[in-house]
Symmetry: C2
Subunit: 191 residues, 2 copies
């Protein structure tokens, strides 16, 4: 998506450790006009898939997911990060490893909000190692529902998450795919 790639080139900042800082418009501070345009693009990609629910993870996926849910006219559910091990009949749970923080935590979704008949579109801001999307996929599968695919704002295509998920059969669409980055350059994949 040209508008997003241009914005990343203009306002994104590369930090040591393959960190791409886009928190002036995508997380922490959010440009709602850009998010809404991104949601239009997600609808163009997945609008024919009969999506009944948009699933994301707190906190930085929520704003984009909100606009996506609005375009699709369906509810949004956000998985919560659980501090304690939630051994409960009320929730679907999956472990997620954070490569950024070097920590493990569980994510939880109430069983009330995912059902076997749901066709679920997973939405998130970033895809790098794929840990969050794998956790969300596991939760959808526990519910017996179908993953229609995943839409992410930015994929770091030089990290293995996207390739792994696609090899597992998931349709993964990224609105911007970063091929490589260094202190003084940022290259996107050819579309």
């Amino acid at each position: 998506m040209k508008e997003l790639c241009e914005r990343i080139k203009k306002d994104g900042k590369v930090r040591p450790g393959n960190i791409l800082k886009v928190d002036s418009f995508l997380n922490h501070q959010i440009d709602p006009m850009l998010s809404s345009a991104m949601a239009d693009e997600v609808y163009r990609l997945f609008g024919n898939e009969g999506v009944t629910k948009v699933l994301t993870i707190e906190a930085s996926g929520i704003a984009l997911a909100a606009f996506v849910g609005y375009k699709f006219g369906c509810p949004i559910v956000f998985a919560k990060k659980s501090k304690t091990s939630n051994i409960s009949d009320e929730f679907y749970t999956a472990p997620v490893h954070s490569y950024t923080h070097g920590t493990d935590h569980d994510i939880i979704v109430s069983k009330e909000y995912l059902h076997p008949e749901d066709k679920v579109l997973i939405v998130d801001d970033f895809l790098a190692m794929g840990a969050a999307l794998e956790g969300l996929k596991a939760i959808v599968e526990q519910a017996g529902a179908k993953v229609v695919g995943a839409a992410v704002a930015v994929e770091k295509a030089f990290q293995p998450g996207g390739a792994k998920l696609r090899a597992e059969g998931m349709r993964v669409e990224a609105l911007a795919r970063v091929a490589s980055m260094s202190d003084d350059s940022l290259e996107f994949c050819e579309e």
Copy 2:
């Protein structure tokens, strides 16, 4: 706001400890059509105030804030809950006590995203004791910016947060004000 009050009556659940569970449409699962209608109402209330930024707190305020920011055509900033005491020049910070969880934590906002010339509308899903709004207000004041007011989805008007903030001079608008609740009844304040 009639539509929100009716939805709370229909789908809200009262739980022991004055808990009003609205996570089938307002947090955890979100109805984006209702959220967008709520944002229209917030715009009707604050549209003439020259708002330059919408400020909320992760995670359950973000979806409503996203739609509000879209209506106002201005950026959204969400305060993050910090696990560690963030003694850093990069952030504004304020302590927030959680009455629900009995814990204290700091919230942080990058200094890049709030400026003295900003006119800030604070948005959140719930107002009860007012701790989150007090923390957000403190952060806006640290930035030397102006708080235009606060818009919340649901105020528990039988708890003291709203009265305290209004006594301090803040304009606080709640789209639904719960006067009282018990297992078998839920009463809203007369408008």
